[in-house]
Amino acid sequence: MAKVINMGRYYIGEFEEIVLLISAILFEEAYAVLIKAEIESQSGRKVNISAVHKALYRLEEKGMLESYMSDPVSKRGGKRRRLFRITPVGKKALDDSKDLRMSLHSQIPEKAFQWNQ
């Protein structure tokens, strides 16, 4: 199955970016349930666990995250968690995205924000 991946730029969507950022923040503890809770508390928006799963697996496919299994956790009946960790590619994607935004931001003429004249 051929997947078309945009190799030139590290393109990620807005939600993926949030997931990637939070995975990086939660370093060593980043797994789906915690990421979901973190998104909800930090951004105030409700997300379904499946959306987080989907984003995590896609980011892994794109090489921005790597993952490994934790030790068994008793809370989940002895099941292990899949923990995610940001890769250099992921960091690059975040940096690019941030740079792009900053650069765009700085180009806005001051007048654009002055409405009452």
């Binding site: 789906a32 499946s50 959306a51």
Partner: protein, 874 residues
């Protein structure tokens, strides 16, 4: 390593579904996440909602990232073919979205309605099945046959029966007795709470019934006198969430200490208790040795090896001989005990005095048939539409066959198509169902529970429905289509005659009509009867009568209250009686003078009434007179009977007949009047023979109100508060009581109406599809006829006629069955309408109109088309 089996209790069906679709290598991490979420939510929002969230998550996670790869499961070639079948099926459906929508919509309607019925049946059939060792629990009830052959059956038994039998019978492991207290006033910290369905019970109740104690110890909670256990909702109502254990509740007669709180019983219980007091509280009643009075519920739990038949025989043998014959033989009254399994009570009991309204096994059958009808109609639709489409597919079949497709693979392909449709409908149905169940509950007054669908049995039924609709309805078109010979199929065109077996298809449509007609007639008959019940003259004036109760204390002040009430010009009459119309009455042994002048012992239904009873309720005297203060002996010696009693006793001259209240008594009461018959209870039952004895102090008050209700009721309340400032005043209208009798009938009537409308809609949908197909098929014929001078009306009627004939043919068996059903159903009512044959005609007209409207639309379109359009290709 932790043990894996400390899984939270998740719905098995959802868990298996998840396991089914999820890749095994991802199962651990994904389901672990869901479990963790579930456990977090459990604390946060409670079990039910957490479960719904879990269900939602399972559905949401059903996405490609979690899916198994088909290839890894099955032989890769088969899997590949299966994928292709599904893909082609989906493409076909998408190519004809209108047709697919019609099909899916029809099937969904059918499935939703039959699932609603399934829920209803599941609830009805699951009554009392939650008790531990339910197969060993029986209730003892009593049959009576009197000297003159009058028969009665009561759910109740005598107080000493339970303990005596438990002591002497090795087969009886445990017993429990329920002493019904009815509506009771409880006082806690000077606030009054009225509570329905209060019982005093033996402390053994927890060994027999599955009351789930949240607080308190089942072994000791009800042993001490003056202990009481409350249902959770009542405990919350009274104590507002504070721990009620140890609190004191006062009633008119006793003072209780709360020793337990139990979870509210499931709705599928034949006996619902809001509070259970310890029976030892009422020492006098509890230890009564009277074998003559039947008034309490007795339940036995047998030992695992005991045979219920043996116990019943011993009850009717030794118990009867030792304790009961000695009392009743001299009255020539026969008593026979019957043991009814607790699970059968709701559907099979025919005893009087049940604690809650019962269902009926007949309705279980009727609704099962309705559900099957619905599925049949929906399947027929699918079959018709699919075969009608066959011509479009003939070319495809021809090409496939030429390319070497085997018949088997073609069949699989067509079945795959119907399975796709059925799956989409099923998923859609479950979704719709979760939305409509609450609406149905509100609209129809039912208490269906959507989560019941997660039961194993229910899932089994759903799977069966799915298999039947998907595979069975798909198989006919599949076998039919795959049988095309390629040469004929490829030649195409001009093959209108071979578009499916027209007889079979017509037969199926005819069957649909027959079912719809049957349902519609039945619905009309039911509505007719309901109307009749609402409007029937009950023989007394139930409108504008307000009733309320007097307690043992308030009745002392009744005379004062009565005078104050009568001062209001809007109150024309007040009366008191031992029960209101619609309420029950005791049956007591009395010595009665026969027509020949001998005295005979008979059970008499007895109401105690004051002198204003008949005038207040507008009941007239057929003979003789009402009780009157002009006769000084009336309060002590006079009696009134109703006409039914005169008929029962065969009196030719009832006035002056003598009745002794006990055989040894020296007092002879005499009948002074015969009241016209009125319906003391529901119209399901015949008018019972009644004896009216005069009594000036009675617990039920009825007030005839004229003019402004609200003002008058407020006035009554004010007067009540003047005399009894601490007691709540609660009144109800007499006719409310009567509405309750027909509540179940009303619900069933509404369900029937809903289902017959749905059936007609489904049938009409199928017709629409079929008509569009036949009209198209015959478009060339129509065009030629048109060129030769046929009128549009003529052409439309030509096309419509075919279907109208089917309606007529379908009507014949439908009429026969509908008549038979209506007659049987109506006979269940002692008073009922006659079957109105005009209804049958009306139904035919309705169905014909629907048919003409659906088929005529397409016929008209084809007939209007320009002939040259259709003929230019020849």
């Amino acid at each position: 390593m932790e043990p894996i089996n400390n899984l939270p209790k998740l719905p098995r069906f959802l868990f298996l579904f998840f396991k089914w679709y999820c890749k095994s290598e991802k199962f651990e991490e994904l389901h672990g996440d869901l479990e963790e979420l579930y456990i977090d939510r459990l604390e946060e929002i409670g079990k039910t909602r957490a479960m719904f969230h879990y269900a939602w998550d399972v559905m949401r996670c059903c996405q490609p990232y979690a899916w198994k790869k088909l290839e890894s499961q099955i032989n890769s070639n088969t899997a590949h073919m299966l994928k292709i079948y599904l893909r082609i099926a989906v493409r076909h459906l998408l190519r004809k979205p209108g047709y697919a929508a019609l099909n899916i919509f029809g099937l969904t309607l059918g499935i939703v309605s039959s699932l609603v019925i399934l829920l209803y049946l599941n609830q009805e059939l699951s009554f009392d099945n939650y008790h531990k060792d339910v197969d060993r629990i029986y209730r003892v009830s009593s049959h009576f046959t009197e000297a003159d052959g009058t028969k009665d059956s009561w759910v109740t038994t005598q107080v000493p029966l339970g303990p005596t039998v438990h002591e002497t019978f090795g087969e009886v492991e445990q017993y429990v007795r329920f002493f019904r207290q009815g509506r009771t006033r409880f006082e806690s910290k000077n606030v009054n709470y009225m509570m329905e369905d209060v019982y005093l019970v033996d402390s053994t109740v927890f060994d027999v019934f599955a009351f789930d104690l949240i607080h308190g110890d089942p072994a000791t909670a009800l042993i001490k006198p003056n202990s009481i256990c409350l249902s959770e909702s009542e405990a919350t109502r009274i104590f507002k969430g504070n721990n009620p254990i140890g609190e004191i509740l006062e009633t008119d007669n006793f003072s209780f200490e709360v020793t337990g709180v139990y979870k509210d019983q499931p709705k599928n219980s034949h006996l619902i208790a809001k509070a259970l007091g310890s029976a030892s509280t009422n020492q006098q009643m509890y230890s009564s040795e009277r074998w003559g009075g039947f008034g309490i519920y007795t339940y036995f739990k047998l030992t695992p090896t005991a045979s219920p038949q043996v116990v019943e025989d011993r009850l009717n043998g030794e118990i009867m001989d030792t304790y009961i014959r000695v009392i009743f033989d001299r009255f020539d009254l026969q008593v026979v005990y019957e043991m009814l399994p607790i699970r059968d009570i709701h559907l099979y009991s025919e005893f009087e005095g049940e604690p809650t309204a019962l269902g009926s096994i007949d309705y279980i059958y009727i609704f099962s048939v309705v559900a099957i009808f619905l599925i049949i109609i929906a399947c027929i639709n699918y079959m018709n539409l699919a075969t009608a489409q066959s011509m479009r597919r003939a070319l495809e079949v021809g090409v496939r066959k030429t390319m070497g497709a085997k018949r088997g693979s073609l069949i699989s392909q067509f079945i795959a198509e119907s399975v796709v449709i059925a799956s989409v409908s099923l998923v859609l149905s479950l979704f719709i169902l979760s939305l409509v169940v609450p609406v149905i509950n509100i609209q129809l007054g039912t208490s269906l529970d959507f989560t019941q669908l997660l039961n194993a049995e229910v899932i089994l039924v759903i799977v069966m429905v799915f298999v039947v609709t998907g595979i069975l309805s798909g198989s006919y078109p599949a076998f039919y289509l795959s049988a095309f010979t390629p040469s004929k199929a490829l030649r195409g065109g001009g093959s209108a005659k071979r578009s499916g077996n027209p007889f079979l298809r017509r037969g199926l449509v005819g069957l649909q009509f027959a079912i719809s007609i049957f349902m519609l007639i039945s619905t009309f008959v039911i509505n007719d009867q309901m109307q009749y019940l609402r409007n029937k003259d009950l023989g007394f004036d139930k409108d504008q009568v307000v009733s309320f109760n007097l307690s043992r204390e308030t009745v002392q002040q009744w005379d004062v209250l009565k005078q104050r009430l009568l001062q209001n010009p809007n109150i024309s009459n007040v009366t008191t009686a031992s029960s209101i119309p619609g309420g029950g009455y005791p049956n007591r042994m009395r010595s009665v003078e026969t027509n020949e002048g001998n005295m005979e012992d008979l059970g008499m239904n007895e109401l105690r009434i004051d002198f204003e009873y008949f005038p207040t309720l507008g009941i007239e005297m057929a003979q003789g007179r009402n009780f009157s203060f002009e006769y000084s002996t009336d309060t002590a010696r006079a009696l009134i009977v109703n006409e039914a009693m005169v008929r029962r006793l065969g009196w030719t001259d009832p006035i002056g007949k003598r009745i002794q209240f006990s055989r040894d008594s020296t007092v002879f009461h005499r009948v002074v009047g015969v009241a016209k018959d009125f319906h003391q209870s529901s119209l399901h039952d015949p008018i019972e023979p009644l004896l009216f004895a005069p009594s000036l102090e009675n617990p039920r008050v009825m007030v005839k109100v004229e003019g402004n209700y609200l003002e008058t009721i407020n006035y009554m309340e004010d007067k009540w508060k003047e005399l009894f400032p601490n007691r709540p005043f609660e009144s109800q209208f007499l006719d409310q009581n009567f509405v309750q009798f027909y509540e179940d009938d009303r619900i069933r009537g509404n369900l029937f109406l809903g289902f017959s409308i749905i059936m007609i809609v489904i049938a009409a949908l199928g017709l629409l599809g079929l008509a569009s197909f036949t009209a198209e098929q015959r478009s060339k014929e129509i065009s030629i006829r048109k060129v030769l001078g046929a009128s549009i009306q003529g052409l439309v009627s030509l096309l419509v006629k075919e279907f109208v004939i089917l309606v007529m043919i379908g009507a014949v068996p439908a009429f026969v069955f509908a008549y038979w059903f209506a007659e049987n159903w109506l006979n269940g009512f002692e008073y009922h309408v006659n079957i109105n044959l005009m209804l049958f005609a009306l139904v035919i007209v309705i169905i014909t109109l629907v048919t003409v409207a659906t088929t005529g639309f397409h016929a008209f379109r084809v007939a209007q088309a320009n002939p040259s359009e259709n003929l230019k290709n020849e």
